[in-house]
């Protein structure tokens, strides 16, 4: 058991090291230009976000429509503390911790709610945080915060993503992770088995918020400019879409769908304005195809080795 685990971890780290070296070489040789570099980094940030949302939505079965609020908190907290004089790395950590704290504080009362009520409440929190940020003049208000240095490099983004994958994979395959899955499967049964469901829901929320905050910090230092409306509930919806299309309880599917859906608008750029129509159209077609049991996660089957969960229809 332990041996296969170590083997898997080493294989994963080796594979990610190879990917990193290849991309770094391509970037330093200018094969990938600055424009595509930014897109690739955005993909990595979105993967961190999607995986953190995945923990809450797919593994714990709590539909949140406000995950981008934690990204906003992470971004603003990191950028603000950097101004005070903390180095980049500690700013990122600080942003994540503040986001996690908010995740805890928001999760504690709201996670008593279920299903659609939870969805709308989290969406409400997202909106409230956007409005609050718009009204803090120190953060630039609605105009947004400028003058953030471009400290986020490809290495930062990539290794943050790798760390997120490893940590969340561990969480999901731990005692706590199994408790979270049991909450998803049947809350009442889980409670009857002696699992403190609120505890695990809040834990998933806090952990998810932590990584969303990390992604937010990276995003702030990548874009060099943040404004509250970038983090409104449309961003949260994007995350839900990534997560659900990836298939439930599936790391590889989640990563693949996030990558594809982040790149899709760029690929469709040749359509001009119409890409904004084609994207939702594709989304609807994919959902209908899925209902007829043609799944996107099956396309990601080649990557399946890293995610042992496989297809679990049960959630959501």
């Amino acid at each position: 058991m332990m041996k296969t685990y170590v083997k898997k971890l080493v294989a994963f780290l080796a594979a990610s090291a190879v990917v990193f070296v290849v991309f770094s070489l391509l970037l330093s040789n200018g094969v990938i230009n600055a424009y595509y570099k930014q897109i690739i980094m955005t993909v990595c940030i979105n993967i961190i976000l999607a995986l953190s949302a995945n923990l809450i939505i797919n593994f714990t079965g709590q539909l949140t429509l406000g995950h981008s609020a934690f990204m906003a908190i992470g971004a603003y907290a990191a950028a603000a503390i950097y101004r005070v004089g903390l180095p980049f790395f500690f700013s990122l950590i600080f942003g994540s911790l503040v986001a996690a704290l908010f995740g805890f504080l928001i999760g504690l009362p709201t996670l008593r709610l279920k299903g659609d009520y939870l969805a709308i409440t989290t969406m409400g929190f997202c909106q409230i945080i956007v409005v609050v940020l718009q009204n803090i003049p120190q953060f630039g208000g609605a105009q947004g915060m400028t003058g953030i240095p471009a400290d986020t490099t490809f290495a930062w983004v990539f290794f943050s993503m790798i760390i997120t994958i490893i940590v969340l994979y561990h969480v999901v395959n731990s005692r706590q992770g199994r408790a979270m899955i049991s909450v998803r499967e049947d809350e009442i049964a889980a409670e009857a088995m002696g699992i403190n469901t609120t505890h695990y829901k809040v834990m998933a929320f806090t952990l998810g918020a932590f990584f969303a905050g990390l992604a937010g910090g990276l995003y702030a230092f990548l874009m060099m400019f943040i404004e509250p409306t970038q983090f409104n509930y449309f961003k949260s919806m994007d995350l839900v879409i990534y997560v659900v299309l990836g298939g439930s309880g599936n790391f590889a599917g989640c990563i693949a769908s996030t990558g594809i859906l982040t790149l899709l608008p760029e690929v469709l750029r040749f359509l001009g304005n119409y890409r904004m129509v084609v994207y939702p159209l594709l989304l609807i077609i994919i959902m209908i195809m899925r209902a007829k049991n043609i799944r996107l996660s099956r396309l990601a089957g080649i990557f399946r080795r890293t995610g042992k969960e496989g297809d679990n229809n049960a959630a959501a």
Binding site: L113, V131, M287, R290, A291
Partner: protein, 294 residues
């Protein structure tokens, strides 16, 4: 705030709230019958506003025919959306349906943006004459009163449809238990289509009313009122028609007062109230607590 100002704000709040209520009814009816948060509903409202706009500008129709045309058009769009996008997913998980609804919402917004452009358009001024009305010391204008009256008339009509007609009975039966309703010989698909038609028609009417009141429509006009109307529906207890009505009115009044008092809060106040209500009474104002069965 003097008492007169209070009354004036109350009228403004009630007319805004009645618009929220009109939209919220569609959310709540659809939720009641298929358990879906219909994210595209706020865009049906936008479609209604556009149909009304073209009826008023190209066909030069007066207010009432414009309203009826917009309601019919929005109703048809709502039925088509259900038929094409939602029906194939009837048996899929809730969350797939939710994402499809988000897709339809984006499609309508961006589609209208592509076809008609993103610039705001305004209704012709002569469609409803805006006169000041004095009710004793209270000054208000005719627009707010007309909107309030129109909404109330439509809501009374809805009550009659739901509680006095055969299709209303079918709708109530289907929302109570789809399978049992089908066994009793109710055509569930037709009933769901009817629900979408009625809900969308109400949203279309709201679109025209708001288009005339604020004199500006654009493809993304539905987002903000959509969120607020949905809040209103949850506030009142989602799935309950009187709840949507009450929730809409209360939300409109509170929002108007809070905005008059401290405007930066306008965007968030609805949610703050919602969260407080949900934490105290999670099933909404009129919702009953359903005990869980294992």
């Amino acid at each position: 705030m003097t008492f007169v100002e209070f009354l004036q704000q109350l009228i403004n709040g009630l007319s805004l709230g009645s618009v929220y209520a009109l939209i919220a009814l569609g959310y709540t009816m659809v939720y009641g019958i298929i358990g879906l948060i219909n994210f595209a509903h706020c865009d049906i409202y936008m479609v209604g506003a556009y149909i009304g706009f073209f009826a008023a500008t190209s066909l030069h129709l007066p207010f009432i025919p414009t309203l009826i045309l917009a309601m019919a058009g929005a109703g048809i769009v709502g039925v088509l959306v259900e038929r094409i996008a939602y029906r194939p997913l009837r048996k899929a998980s809730n969350i797939s349906l939710l994402i499809t609804a988000m897709g339809v919402s984006l499609l309508l917004e961006n589609g209208f943006n592509c076809i008609f452009g993103g610039d705001p358009r305004s209704y012709p001024h002569n469609i409803l004459k805006q006169t000041n009305i004095e009710l004793g010391p209270v000054h208000t204008d005719s627009l707010h009163l007309i909107i309030l009256t129109t909404s109330l008339v439509l809501m009374v009509l809805l009550q009659i449809i739901i509680y006095r007609t055969k299709i209303g009975k079918a709708m109530r039966a289907t929302s109570a238990d789809k399978d049992a309703a089908a066994l009793m010989g109710i055509n569930v698909n037709a009933t769901i289509s009817a629900t979408f038609a009625i809900g969308s028609a109400l949203a279309g009417a709201a679109g025209v009313l708001v288009g005339i009141l604020y004199n500006s429509i654009d493809p993304y006009m539905g987002i903000q009122p959509g969120i607020k109307a949905f809040t209103a529906a949850v506030f009142g207890g989602i799935g309950l028609i009187p709840g949507a009505f009450l929730g809409g009115l209360i939300l409109g009044v509170i929002e108007t007062f809070v905005t008059a008092w401290y405007s930066p809060l306008a965007g968030a106040i609805g949610f703050i109230i919602l969260i407080i209500i949900l934490i105290i009474k999670p099933s909404g104002l009129l919702g009953k607590k359903v005990s869980e069965k294992v």
